[in-house]
Symmetry: C2
Subunit: 367 residues, 2 copies
Amino acid sequence: MTSRLAVTYHVRSDAESIETRAQAIAVEQSVEMPLEAIDDPAVLRDMVGEVQAIDRLDDGRFSVRIGLATATIGNDAGQLLNMLFGNTSLHDDVVLHDVAFPAELLAAFGGPPHGIAGLRQRVGAHRRALTCSALKPQGLSADRLGMLAERFARGGIDYIKDDHGLADQDFSRFADRVRACAAGVARATQATGHSTRYMPSLSSDLNAMRRQIGLARELGIDCVLIAPLIAGFANMQALVTEFPDVAFFAHPSMGGAARIAPALLIGTLFRLIGADAVIFPNFGGRFGYSQATCRLLADHARAPRDGLRPSLPVPAGGMTLQRAPELLDFYGPDAMLLIGGNLLLARERLTEETAAFTRAVATHEYR
Amino acid sequence: MTSRLAVTYHVRSDAESIETRAQAIAVEQSVEMPLEAIDDPAVLRDMVGEVQAIDRLDDGRFSVRIGLATATIGNDAGQLLNMLFGNTSLHDDVVLHDVAFPAELLAAFGGPPHGIAGLRQRVGAHRRALTCSALKPQGLSADRLGMLAERFARGGIDYIKDDHGLADQDFSRFADRVRACAAGVARATQATGHSTRYMPSLSSDLNAMRRQIGLARELGIDCVLIAPLIAGFANMQALVTEFPDVAFFAHPSMGGAARIAPALLIGTLFRLIGADAVIFPNFGGRFGYSQATCRLLADHARAPRDGLRPSLPVPAGGMTLQRAPELLDFYGPDAMLLIGGNLLLARERLTEETAAFTRAVATHEYR
């Protein structure tokens, strides 16, 4: 028996065409050539994608399940994406909806190196939800960002992330920024005793990211932010393997909501390649994800799954302090709330507003 | 004056909301926070995206032009994608349509190292269109693929690409495949005198790709295939810089037709980061690109542009020998026709069918 991934696509089609269309996707995502030109029976049997099920969905589209040979992935996270959706992403009638992975593939990828427990342990918070904010805007000097980080940390926040737009630009060199922010957080931690963690945003190519992590570790930093769709899945996979003591937060940049189901991309695939925490746009914020999508995404990130550690869901994107109780009830304590710009609106009262945020999370009584 | 990229988005909106929506995109793709929380006037002036124009399109959508600060890119191709569309890709009402780059950014990225002239020179074809085919299916042994390569080459084809599904799997190790294919092509070249070029498909992380190019060069190979959206833009940029004598063919895998205009993504951005040739799904084949889209894409790839070499357009995806004359008239001689599966249908007559293809291209009289 050939080991296969069961890949579900949602396809816009009429009833007469769906079988042909499903078969075309199965070929496109495997051998990518006319089957009658293949003379090797083993290839026809083991390599060609097979249509396993076609079901009509309530919205009139069709759910098509296709078995793709696990052997075509070769334990390469980039190739995983390529085989799941590479060419088919170019068709606008198809959404990549879900994947059922064989256990051997889950084991080969390995998932989050630290998972939720590791992120809790880093900040000594074992039951409550975790808190997070973001350093913004682009254009501030390293020193200004470091002062912001200090004020967040003095408010008792658990995690502080770089804005994902902060890279290694002339106006904000990675090395300068990370030194300033690490120092700012250290000053606050000395004052408060709370072990706030700062995570710098990685950018550029794999070697640059490797140097960035190296510098961060010299400064005692053990968490980083990465955008897997920009870094390349295989490069994130390489970093996760190479730096086993570092926790990885995945940013959804370039996630293209409409074409890959968010729960699959962010909840499942980012987890699979090693994200300890997954940041995603929360319902009711600046982005269009529905409440149901967010529920499913969080479920995918945290659900028990053959030996994979859970990823921590980090709802974000236009969140406010006022919504904290609602979100805590919705996601439960195995989550991290990320409020960025809305805390920064407090300006000179930033530390106090941050303290109100951390207090709200710490004292919340879950319904 | 701040140097800015002029980025055009096509937005689905009603007339009352479009100004607010445009302003929201400008903020999302720059400082990503409430402007009233920014107290630094230089950031407000130089960093915040600015809405430069809003025009209604014929289809009822709006074209929104936003100026984004060039300084936020920092000459990092990954960051370029992040700033152009990172978070906004998560909104399903927006398509990234086009970008006008300042000359300094074009100069910093540099574009194709060889361009159309370099690809012509490699195979000694200076005026006619070039020809290409693909090694498939996945699952064939290295030796079988090598024999296929030889038969294509004996038919006088110019370029032979790996199927983009061929990575470094157990059933087809990169090293074995490349050795077998290089040997197959060398045997044919010795017989025919035509310098066919074989381009292996790069996969996995940056270091693996670097090793793959290293091995290929030892075997005399000077062309490779890469999927920028899977490799990560910055990693492709790094390879182009590191291997100046290698020509890069860009594959559109994960190109997500619906959300980034193909002419921009494949014709402009792939060229900008150094693709000497850009492969794309041709109209009337297996994919849904229109004739107008393909025309625009080829124009973007080839148009004169401040010191950037042109990229060679490579229409592909379900092409047939019968369509060669039509496509040659459509694209002109500065193009490469790629016929994969349709040539392979000839099975034992592969060399003869390939020869008919190369003859059709060589003898075509352009209208």
